[in-house]
Amino acid sequence: MQTEHRLEPKWLKPLLLGITLLFLGVFLALPLGVVFSEALAKGWKVYFESISEPDAIAAIKLTLLVVIITVPLNTIFGVATAWLIAKFEFRGKGILITLIDLPFAVSPVIAGLIFVLLFGSSGWLGAWLGEHDIRIVFATPGIILATLFITSPFVAREIIPLMQEQGTDEEESALTLGATGWQTFWKVTLPNIKWGLLYGVILSNARAMGEFGAVAVVSGHIRGVTTTMPLHVEILYGEYLFTAAFAVASLLTLLALLTLVLKSFIEWRIGKKRSLAH
C-alpha cells in the first residue's frame, strides 16, 4: 500500500475522479452504448441483414484490402526510416524527422485534395493517366494512397525513440561476432523493437480502418465500389437508414475495442520489460 500524503485537500481526489468519470460516461460510454443499442434496435435479424447486404460486404472487403496493403507497406517504411534516423548520422536529419510528422499536421481533407490535384482528370498527371487508362482518383488506388499518406507516421514515430535509446552497441557487437547485416537485423535489431513495432502497427491499423476525411475526398462515393466502412456508414446515415448505419458502425467499434485490448496488452508487456531492465 502506498502511503497517502495529505498535501491536497481531502475532497480533491473524489472531485477529479467525478469529473473524469462524468466525461468518460458522456463522451465515451454513452455513445458506445447508443451504437450497439441502435444497431440492435430492430433485432438481430435486421442487424445481420444490414451487415450482410452486398454493399456492406463490399465496404468491409474494401476496408480490409486497404488495411492489408497499407499496414505492411507502412511497417516497412517505418522500420527503414527509424533505422536510418536512429543508427546513422547525416545532414538534414532534423528536417526528415519533421517531415515524417507532416501527415499529423495536415488536415486529412487537404491530404485527400493533394491526391485529387495530382492524379485527378484535370490534375498534374491526369492527362497522362487518362491516356494510359489508369484510374487512381475515385478508385481503389486513390483510397490506398490517401490511407498510406495518413497512416505513414505511426510505425516510425513509435520506434524512432526506442531505437535511439538503444543505440548501436548491440548491432556493432553482432558485427564483431561475425554476423552479417541481415542476421544482425533479424536477430538483434528486430527483437529489440518488436513490442514497440507491434504497438505502431496496431495504431496504424486502427487509423487505416477508420480514416474518413482523406478517403472521402478521393473516393467519389461510388456505392459498393469505392466506399470503405466509414464512408458506407455515412451514406446509410444520410439516407435515414439508421439501423443499418449503426450496424456497420458497430463493426468498426468492435474493431476499435479489439485494438484497445491489444494495445493495453502490449503496453503491459512493454511495462513488464521495462521493470525487468531496472
Partner: protein, 359 residues
C-alpha cells in the same frame, strides 16, 4: 597476433581525432591506451576493430594489411563499456551468438556449441547463471559475460573499450586483477582503452599514453611512471603540484628560496612538478631551503593524510600527502608558519629537457 598501426589519420568534421599514429603491438601483449577524453584512444581502438574507418593509414595484423577487411572478417573480439549484451537473449545464447551466426559449413554442431559455451562460462566463473537474462545480472557479471561472448569466436585480438568504466570501485578492482590473470592464462593480444591511470599501471604490459590525437609516450608501466617523457605524461599519471620558478645562477629559485638543484645553466623560466607524496612538511626549516606556507585544510584518506597548504609569498596551493605520524607532529603547530620541502621533483625548462631533482 601482432598489430601494426601505420600513419593512421582520422578527422571528424573540424576535429582531428588522430594524427599520424604509429604503433606496434607485439603478439600476446596486454596494452593499455591511456588518455583523457577526446585524446582519440577509443577512435583508435575502433579503427583497429574495423568499426571505424581511418581517413588514411594502414592496419596490419601479423604483417598482413587488414585495412580494407570488414569488421565481420577481422577476427577481433570487442568488449564495450556498457556491455552491449543482447538483452532479449539468455547468457548462454549471448555467448553462443558468434557460433550460431556462422555459415553452415563452419558452424559447430549443437553439442559442440553447448560444450564451448559452458567451457567459457566456467572460465568466467558464471556457469551457474547460463539461463538468466542480462537484466538480471550485476554490472560485473554482465561485463564478464560480454568478455566470454567475445572470446567464443576465438578472436585473434581482444579489444576492450573502457571495460570497467561503468562499474563501482570495488568490482572494478576485482575485475582488473581477474582480467590480468585471464590474460596470463590465454595470452591473446589485447588492447584496452582507459582514462584511469591506476588501471593502466596495474593491468597492462605496456602503456600508450595519448593526448589530442597523438601518442605522447609508449612504455612499460614502470617506464611511463618513473620516466615520463614530458609534462603531460607526468601530470596525467597522478596528482601533481606545478610551480613556476626561475633558474638563476644555475639553481632554481622558488618564492625567493634557492633549491638545492644540480646546475641548470643559464637563467630561464622553469616548471617544477612535484607529486603530493614527494613533499615533506617541517615546522622549523632545520634543513633550510623550505618554502614558507600556512595550513589551509586536511583530510584523512585511508591510512594517509592529504594536507593542503598555501605558500605565504605567492599564495600558491600545495597538496601534500603524508603519514599519520607526521601529521600528528604538524597538527600541534597548526596555526604557525610551516615549511614545504621537496623530497624529489621534476624540472622542465621548456627545452624538451627533463631534469631530475633529488634532495
Amino acid at each position: 597476433m601482432s598489430i601494426q598501426i601505420s600513419h593512421i589519420n582520422k578527422r571528424f568534421e573540424n576535429f582531428t581525432a588522430l594524427s599520424d599514429i604509429n604503433l606496434t603491438i607485439p603478439d600476446g601483449e596486454l596494452v593499455a591506451l591511456l588518455g583523457p577524453s577526446g585524446s582519440g584512444k577509443t577512435t583508435l581502438l575502433r579503427i583497429i576493430a574495423g568499426l571505424e574507418e581511418a581517413d588514411s593509414g594502414t592496419i596490419y595484423f601479423n604483417g598482413e594489411d587488414t585495412t580494407a577487411t570488414h569488421v565481420r572478417d577481422r577476427g577481433v573480439g570487442f568488449v564495450f563499456q556498457h556491455y552491449a549484451l543482447f538483452r532479449h537473449m539468455s547468457v548462454f545464447e549471448n555467448v553462443a551468438f558468434g557460433l550460431r551466426v556462422r555459415p553452415k559449413e563452419t558452424r559447430p554442431s549443437e553439442e559442440e556449441i553447448k560444450e564451448r559455451v559452458h567451457k567459457l562460462l566456467k572460465l568466467i566463473q558464471l556457469d551457474w547463471i547460463a539461463n538468466r537474462y542480462p537484466s538480471q545480472l550485476s554490472g560485473g557479471q554482465r561485463q564478464r559475460v560480454a568478455l566470454a561472448r567475445a572470446l567464443a569466436v576465438e578472436p585473434k585480438v581482444l579489444l576492450l573499450d573502457e571495460p570497467f568504466g561503468a562499474l563501482d570501485a570495488k568490482v572494478r578492482q576485482e575485475l582488473r586483477q581477474w582480467l590480468r590473470s585471464l590474460h596470463d592464462e590465454i595470452h591473446i593480444t589485447s588492447v584496452f582503452v582507459t582514462h584511469d591511470q591506476e588501471e593502466a599501471l596495474e593491468v597492462s604490459d605496456k602503456i600508450v599514453v595519448m593526448n589530442q590525437g597523438k601518442i605522447e609516450q609508449i612504455g612499460t608501466p614502470e617506464e611511463v611512471y618513473d620516466r615520463p617523457a614530458n609534462p603531460f605524461v607526468y601530470s596525467f599519471l597522478g596528482n601533481v603540484n606545478l610551480f613556476h620558478a626561475r633558474v638563476e645562477q644555475g639553481s632554481l629559485h622558488l618564492e625567493n628560496t634557492a633549491l638545492n638543484t644540480p646546475d641548470l645553466g643559464a637563467s630561464k623560466e622553469a616548471s617544477l612538478f612535484v607529486r603530493p607524496h614527494e613533499i615533506n612538511i617541517s615546522v622549523d626549516n632545520a634543513e633550510g631551503s623550505g618554502i614558507e606556507a600556512k595550513l589551509i585544510g586536511w583530510r584523512l584518506v585511508g591510512p594517509r593524510v592529504r594536507v593542503e597548504l598555501e605558500t605565504l609569498k605567492e599564495h600558491q596551493k600545495v597538496e601534500a600527502e603524508i603519514s599519520k605520524s607526521e601529521w600528528q607532529n604538524i597538527k600541534a603547530h597548526e596555526n604557525e608558519s610551516l615549511f614545504v620541502h621537496f623530497e624529489s621533483a621534476r624540472i622542465y625548462t621548456g627545452e624538451a629537457l627533463w631534469n631530475d631533482y633529488v634532495i
